[in-house]
Each structure stands twice: as structure tokens, then as C-alpha cells.
């Protein structure tokens, strides 16, 4: 089975978020970058499990500059066979999806896996856009995935429950919690990753349709109003008369 896993880099979940250039640019100073958790924990690891069970190859792909290479090496250390970096500086998910689709059209993947969203721009757009460009099925927020020859068996999270479904491969699947367990790369994996192929390809010419004009941080909360635990009933009163939420 030939599997493509889309990898994004994201600030570590404990990062303090600040901006520069009059709030037009994310300030990367001092920020530790990680593989986007949904891409790593669920999409990549499930891809590796399927390959280990059935044979095949796992290719990882990112659209970005050379700053992406440590992230791709980490994903190779976890077990991916080879990496592709499309050398471009995408500014929105249209552009990322366009580039990845451009590459996927030149290959023959049975599965294209991505995380359900990135933890920086929280778009959850790329998977569906790739599927539309390639005209293949898209299943979002999948919490289980098995593949039997040319049929993918999937469970996806929906409003009010979980849906069990099948789709013919090739298909694009966005992966959520439940799909797999996080893998910590071992020393052998880290050593092997250094010699695995990381191919840098020129842009496929995809363009963007949106741009971020500015960032803001949430307004500071005023100080907390403390209520005596002996008089907890007062809270319900305040929620009604003061906060007006009940």
C-alpha cells in the first residue's frame, strides 16, 4: 500500500503566542516547533501501522521552506520511508492543498492521510480540498481506519455519534483521536532518519485566495470574583442577575 501523509509544523502546545510587525506576523522567536500533533499522532502512526501490517511505503509531504526539514526528519525518525518538501511559502490552505494535489497527481497513492486540523491556523481545510482536486472520496475526523485491498473501512465522528462507513481507495482521510497511539522515535529511528531520502521539489504553482491581515490576542479577563464556598448558592444568583447566562 502506497500511503502519503501530509505533515505540517506547528508551535509546541505550551508556546506563548506573540506577534510582531504591528501584529501582522507571528513571532517565532523562542518558539519550539513540533510536528502538528494530529498529523503525527494519528495520521502518520496509523499510516505506519497499515504499512507494517500489509507492506508498502509511507511518504511524508510538507509545503514549506528549509525550516521544515527538522520536522520532516522527526517524522522520518518515527518511521516514514521518505520525505518530500515542496519548496514554497504557502499563505493559506488553498495553496497547501493545491501544491500537495499537484504532487499527488504525479504519483499513485492508495491513501492520503492528514490530521483533522493544524493547531496553529485551525483550518481543517487541506484534506477536503485535496480530495476535491483529485476527485476522490474524503472522510473527515476519522477515529478508526482499516484497509482491505481497495476498500477503506472508516469510523468518523459526527454530530451526536460515530458513523461507520466504507470508501473505495484512493481516498483522503483526516485523522482524529482514537486512530492510533503516539510513537516516540528511538535512537535507531533517529539514526536511520539521517540517511532516508528527503526530496525537495519546486512549486507546482498553486496560488492562494486568502491572507491574514492582522492578529489580535484575547482581551485580558478582569480579576476573578471569588465566592465563599460556604455560600456557593450565591454563584447561581450572580450567573442570573449579573452575568445573565442562565
Amino acid at each position: 500500500m502506497n500511503i502519503l501523509v501530509c505533515i505540517s509544523k506547528a508551535p509546541d502546545t505550551t508556546s506563548k503566542i506573540t506577534f510582531k510587525d504591528s501584529n501582522k506576523t507571528f513571532n517565532e522567536d523562542g518558539v519550539q516547533f513540533i510536528v502538528n500533533p494530529y498529523d503525527e499522532w494519528y495520521a502518520l502512526v496509523r499510516g505506519l501501522e497499515l504499512k507494517e501490517a500489509q507492506g508498502g511505503k509511507v511518504t511524508i509531504i510538507s509545503v514549506g521552506g528549509s525550516d521544515y526539514e527538522p520536522i520532516l526528519r522527526k517524522a522520518l525518525a518515527i518511521g516514514a520511508d521518505e520525505a518530500v518538501r515542496i519548496d514554497a511559502s504557502p499563505i493559506d490552505s488553498d495553496q497547501v492543498a493545491g501544491e500537495i494535489s499537484g504532487y499527488a497527481k504525479t504519483q499513485a497513492f492508495d491513501l492520503i492521510l492528514c490530521g483533522k486540523e493544524t493547531i496553529d491556523y485551525n483550518g481543517s481545510n487541506v484534506g477536503g480540498m485535496i480530495a476535491a482536486h483529485l476527485n476522490i472520496p474524503f472522510i473527515s475526523n476519522a477515529s478508526k481506519l482499516d484497509v482491505n485491498v481497495t476498500n477503506a473501512h472508516i469510523e468518523r465522528d459526527m454530530q451526536g455519534g460515530t458513523e461507520v462507513l466504507e470508501a473505495a481507495t484512493p481516498a483522503v482521510i483526516s485523522c482524529a483521536k482514537g486512530m492510533a497511539e503516539q510513537r516516540i522515535p528511538n535512537m535507531r529511528g533517529i539514526m536511520a532518519a539521517r540517511s532516508k531520502p528527503l526530496n525537495v521539489l519546486p512549486s507546482f504553482g498553486a496560488s492562494s485566495n486568502t491572507e491574514i491581515v492582522s492578529f489580535t490576542l484575547p482581551a485580558d479577563k478582569g480579576s476573578v470574583k471569588l465566592i465563599d464556598p460556604e455560600n456557593a448558592e450565591e454563584l447561581i444568583n450572580l450567573l442570573h442577575t449579573e452575568a445573565k447566562v442562565i
Partner: protein, 322 residues
């Protein structure tokens, strides 16, 4: 600006988030002097369509033969409806269905897309909307440059306006191609039907509750308030609570009117998922718990004593209101 709203439904019951999307779309159509319409699918009924119309858009296109949430087919349905109505702006809800279909529709229509929109577009000449980024730690103003635009509206972000109107039902049979998925089964989560992602009130708890057997009082408080229940990540990871209740940076992000957190310290990753809540109440034994800094109201105390008192207080409050 001509507006098209996609309204999701489950066996004919329209999602609450769709009422907000219609209200939002109706305001933009009216402010800009454009037309507005709705597209949906499956076995709808006139009562729920009339309710949908009462939020401000009456022309409702329905494709009755399309009964599954097949993302490719619904993407094609929305594309066809957008072309027929000349829509410049296509609005989805940022829920599971929206996350599935909106990017497909955007790619098919070659439209720029912003997901998880929190407010009305700015009133200057550009089309700029606000969305949450960095998992709730910041906001971005995003400009859509393409002629056609797709947005998905974060549930519970705008006040909806209800009037009186009757739906003008238009049967709409678009060419949507063969099914891309085969639906086998739907496993309902059960419960009282208040969806966490759409809930206005949420009661949440964490490790401070010491064990899954102690959730009865949380469920009871939620039931008395008419709230959904949620939990922190550690509690979902060790299996005390189901994963779909996990709110936070790697769980789901919510924006209820009221978020009550008992026995949750308020790690930065948890705050990311809930700091869009309008009012936050924190109950924790540790006065130094970081969550108090993000809270509007706080009770430094033991959840095992405080929560049952709140249950009784809500009961008394409801008796007084009745």
C-alpha cells in the same frame, strides 16, 4: 452580496448551528442588498423548514433523493446551488459536517475559504472576517481575495434573530455523481441530545474528581442547568470519560455562554479550547490554580462539597422562576 447557506440536518431535524448560519447570512444579504437562499438535502419536513425560514431566508432548495452525508455529493449539491443562485458568499456551520463539506465546495468553486468564523465581516470594502487561531490563543482577521467566498461559522458565535416567515420550498435535483462513501451504521452517543459543540452551557470536570465513579454530581448539575458535559484531556486519556467530551487544544474548542470547570487546574492547552467562553466559573481546591486567572467567577473549595450545593441552588432557582 448574494448569499447561500448550507443547512445540515439529521433525518430532517435541522442542526441548531444552521439557524445561526441562516441568521448570519440573512443579515449580510440584507445589509448588502443581495439575495439569500438556503440549500439542504434528504427527508426534511415543512415544520423544520419553516423554522429555518423564520431566521430570515425563505427560499430553500432541497434535494430529497440525497439522504446520506456524503461529502463529495453534498459538495456538488452546494456547488450547483451556488451556481444557480449566483451566490458570492457560501456559508456553512463549522461543525463536523461543515468541516467535511465546506473545503470540498470551496475547491470546486475556486473560492477562498475561512473556517471557524467568529463574527460578521468588517464593513469596509474588503471582505475580512475574524477567526480563532493558535487553538484559541489568538485571533486573526482574514481577507478573502477571490470573487467567490466560502466561510464556516463557529457555533454559538453570533446572536440569531428570529422572525415570522414561511419556507418557499424548491425541489432541487442537482447532478451530484455517484456516492463516494457507503454508510453502514450510525452509533449514537446517546445522552440527552445536547451537543457539546452547540451547547450554550457546559459543565466540565477533571482529575480533581478522583475517579469516574464521581461524575454523578457533574451529570446532575449539567442536567439541572440543561448543559452539556465536557472534561479535560487527562481524564479522557485514562478513560474516565469518553474522548468526544475532551475540550482543549488537542480536543475540541467550544464557545459556550457559560463554562463551569470543577477540579481542572487550567493548563494552557485546556484554556485554549475554552477561553472563547463568555463566562467561566472555576471550582478548585488550589487557590493558585492557573484557571482562576482566566475565570470570571471562582470558588476556592472542594468540588465534592461545592457541586452538590450548586445542584440544589439550581433546583431552587428553577422553582423560583417557575
Amino acid at each position: 452580496m448574494n448569499v447561500l447557506v448550507f443547512a445540515d440536518n439529521t433525518n430532517g431535524t435541522i442542526a441548531k448551528a444552521a439557524f445561526e448560519a441562516v441568521s448570519y447570512g440573512a443579515k449580510i444579504a440584507s445589509d448588502t442588498g443581495g439575495s439569500g437562499s438556503i440549500v439542504t438535502f434528504g427527508n426534511t419536513n415543512s415544520d423544520s423548514l419553516n423554522e429555518l425560514a423564520s431566521y430570515g431566508l425563505t427560499d430553500i432548495r432541497v434535494m430529497p433523493s440525497l439522504t446520506n452525508m456524503d461529502p463529495m455529493q453534498i459538495g456538488s449539491l452546494v456547488e450547483a446551488a451556488a451556481n444557480e443562485t449566483g451566490a458570492d458568499l457560501i456559508i456553512f456551520s463549522h461543525d463536523y459536517t461543515g468541516k467535511s463539506v465546506a473545503p470540498i465546495a470551496a475547491a470546486k468553486l475556486n473560492a477562498g475559504m475561512v473556517s471557524g468564523v467568529l463574527d460578521y465581516p468588517s464593513t469596509n470594502d474588503d471582505f475580512t472576517v475574524k477567526k480563532g487561531v493558535f487553538s484559541g490563543k489568538a485571533f486573526a482577521e482574514v481577507k478573502i481575495n477571490s470573487d467567490k467566498k466560502v466561510i464556516s461559522l463557529f457555533p454559538n458565535s453570533i446572536a440569531k434573530t428570529k422572525g415570522n416567515a414561511e419556507a418557499n420550498l424548491i425541489e432541487f435535483n442537482a447532478e451530484v455523481g455517484a456516492p463516494s462513501v457507503i454508510i453502514k451504521e450510525f452509533k449514537s452517543k446517546g445522552g440527552d441530545g445536547i451537543l457539546l459543540t452547540e451547547a450554550e452551557l457546559v459543565v466540565s470536570a477533571g482529575r480533581g474528581l478522583k475517579g469516574p465513579e464521581n461524575w454523578g454530581m457533574i451529570d446532575e448539575l449539567a442536567k439541572e442547568l440543561g448543559a452539556a458535559t465536557a472534561c479535560s484531556r487527562p481524564v479522557a486519556d485514562i478513560g474516565w470519560r469518553p474522548h468526544h467530551e475532551h475540550v482543549g487544544q488537542t480536543g475540541i474548542a467550544i464557545r459556550p455562554n457559560l463554562y463551569i470547570a470543577a477540579g481542572i487546574s487550567g493548563a494552557i492547552q485546556h484554556l485554549a479550547g475554552v477561553n472563547g467562553s463568555k463566562v467561566i466559573v472555576v471550582i478548585n481546591t488550589d487557590p493558585e490554580a492557573p484557571f482562576f486567572k482566566a475565570a470570571d467567577y471562582g470558588i476556592v473549595g472542594d468540588a465534592f462539597e461545592v457541586v452538590p450545593k450548586l445542584v440544589n441552588a439550581v433546583k431552587a432557582f428553577k422553582a423560583n422562576q417557575a
